[in-house]
Symmetry: C3
Subunit: 327 residues, 3 copies
């Protein structure tokens, strides 16, 4: 168990050792149990975390704001349009000043080619932890909650067959940060990961390379396929979710010709039937219902999406507790 | 006195028994007294209520957010434009997830034909109380504050002559939820209620029917008239307020030909002179000054609008305390 | 030391005696020391301050919201577009109602000819302190933080040569409230103040008159020049900052012909070299980098802008503590 986290940034789990992630999970489970028992956990009394949002959010914002309340502190919700960023305020100034005032700076900035840079620039200057609430590359808050949920449902994850599968959607242009973070993290827990997507939806080469290195180091595997059925077959966990093609379409249009040709990439009952008998269906939400997934699947017996969403709260509280409180 | 309210929804007072409403008033008076004495009331420490707003608000939002602060908890103010609802998030998902995180979900959604349905759909799935901050049909927070104010000023309300009177305004298209909730609630306290409006501003038939049933059951009366003077004559309490014509104008325009023909429906000194000597003037605010009402009336000796507005705080705290706290 | 502040408005320091300002500074230093030591300061437990913003903000909003959290209370952040002000709500109603609910009303309203009037109208009706977060005329929160920073760096300020200097910027139309408040306050501490600006950027005559009276009364001086170099020469503190010309351009355009002719009014290394060896560079932030000031100056050894920004927190907490708490 690691004990020294104070001031550590939470930008990508690639920067966290496996021991540190294990500790994070232990703290998450402890906070969840206390939550269930109604035991107060005011570990961050009178502390402030800034919640800067460049984009919309439901789960992320509310898990953070409710979480810090349950920890006795306060979340300053900052829709960046209400800040002076439009008046020429640079990341450096924002980071220095907010870290003088409060105790943590969390930020969602998914702008392609900009989000992660913005967080890294803040991290360079901040004296308090920078917490990534999703950027163009990573969504560590989502995948740590995914991992916690898998541990709850399955226990030891070594050898678990998990498939991250591209799915059709038209609701909005989704970043690649969720699948990218999943292929990096899950192999570190010895899982056999299949990444499936139609041509044109590749993830960056450097991410595939890092995912393979993680798999080798921790005894997992990474298989890439363009055959959707192969990804469903015998899977223990399936995570079908849309992401935008940053290869084919840099124009940030939601719907393009490439997308419309892959409408059959949908999680159907028929696909679920190919998987293991007790296969778990996961989704970060919001799902594009009847496009990404049939209602009967997301609302059916294999779906654990609400447990997954709830764990966003417990893991968010754990991240704040160990980085902003503690020793 | 009722003691078991935890998890009970507060969508319309029609769903609350008279005993339950009496308890709510008792708790409101108790909290008001403690407020006056400066006695802390941290009954909801570390708890979160979500405050979802589809429309603008001053009194409702601030009474809730200040109220939960005084109760030791936190209100997550959610301008819905910052949520993922635009990204296809359905009421079911929002309700399940927020109720896993926090302790109550309050919502204002006045869209005609949609608001109440949205609340009811959330109530179907939420495990925490759904609190209506005004929908297309009901505004229980306003009318419970009205009732508290009447009790403070008058005491026993049986036989009190109260007139809910349509008034001219151009400031914005107002929902029918306030008058509709008033005609349902006040007769349950034995009041003699007159509902006055020019032709074309009818409230729905089913609401009139339910109001009459309430009047019969509890010894009140309901009289409908299109004669404004009749409504003012000998009244103990007058509540002149604009509402939109959902009969004549479904286009959601603020000003239409029907409206402009009724500019004389205004609460003037002359009208007040027709009423009882000590008549009380009430308004939910904001008033469209010099259109709905003369300044000399709303700022004059009969007006109790600020006491009425203040009681929004005490009743809001009472609703939260008994539905989110307690047994 | 003054002890009775409860309910006192904080609209301009012109309304505060020198004794009162001295007490405010003492409280600021005390709160800063406790902050450094991690000693909790829950002096405003369960109390609410309303934070009404008609304009964007980073430092002001976050220093207030983080500050009230550290004091144990809660800041209701109110983007006024979410309030009923668009529905005809007048300042009187807002002030009466919010002061019935909570414990302080803070407001930023910089609209020329309107902001200060709005605050004064609220002050007439409010039963709780009205706190100015910047209006068209004053920014007392900024200048009290400036004063605290000067005291920290220099100690006794009598005779200190401080220059408030107009600077070129294009980022947005800036109010005159910062320089206007500075020329009023600094001479009260015996400083020798130089105000420098190009023709057309005059501050109002009444403000110059009051500043001169303050200088005479407290042993300071006020010198006005249109020669930038004169203002830098031998200065102990320089505060070069843009403000809009309300004389030449009432159209609220950011860039106008008058402005573009003064691009050389920039704080450069060359200018700094004219000043005292240990000259301090201050700026309220955000600075229009490379227009108002060279990066090497604002990021260099003379710059104390981040200490100045941090003191916004401590002084904001002091203002809230003595006006909303205490006796």
């Amino acid at each position: 168990m690691q004990t020294i986290f104070k001031g550590k940034h939470f930008i990508t789990l690639q920067d966290w050792s496996k021991d540190e992630i294990d500790t994070l999970l232990e703290v998450s489970f402890d906070l969840k149990k206390k939550f269930a028992m109604g035991i107060p956990t005011p570990y961050l009394q009178y502390k402030t975390i800034f919640l800067m949002f460049f984009e919309q959010s439901t789960r992320t914002r509310n898990s953070m704001e409710t979480g810090i309340t349950q920890l006795g502190g306060h979340g300053n919700f900052l829709d960046v349009s209400t800040m002076q960023i439009a008046h020429g305020e640079v990341a450096k100034d924002t980071a220095i000043i907010l870290s003088r005032y409060g105790d943590g700076i969390a930020c969602r900035n998914c702008f392609w080619g900009k989000g992660n840079k913005y967080l890294r620039e803040m991290a360079e200057w901040s004296t308090v932890p920078i917490i990534n609430l999703q950027c163009d590359l990573y969504h560590p808050m989502q995948v740590i909650a995914d991992l916690m949920t898998m541990k709850e449902k399955i226990g030891e994850l070594k050898g678990t067959k998990v498939s991250v599968i591209w799915a059709y959607a038209t609701s909005h242009k989704k970043p690649i940060s969720v699948p990218l973070s999943q292929i990096l993290l899950f192999p570190r827990y010895g899982m056999k990961l299949t990444l499936a997507y139609p041509e044109g939806y590749d993830l960056p080469d450097w991410a595939i390379q890092q995912a393979k290195e993680n798999a080798e180091k921790y005894g997992g595997t990474l298989t890439i396929t363009h055959n959707m059925e192969e990804a469903y077959r015998d899977a223990d966990i399936v995570i079908p979710k849309n992401w935008g093609s940053w290869v084919a379409n840099q124009k940030n249009e939601v719907i393009d010709p490439l997308l419309t040709s892959y409408q059959d990439w949908k999680c159907t009952e028929k696909m679920i039937a190919l998987a293991s008998k007790d296969v778990l269906y996961m989704h970060a939400l919001p799902a594009d219902r009847e496009k990404e997934v049939e209602n009967s699947v997301i609302d059916g017996p294999h779906s654990i999406v609400y447990d997954e969403a709830e764990n966003r709260l417990h893991t968010a509280k754990a991240v704040m507790t160990i980085t902003m409180g503690g020793k």
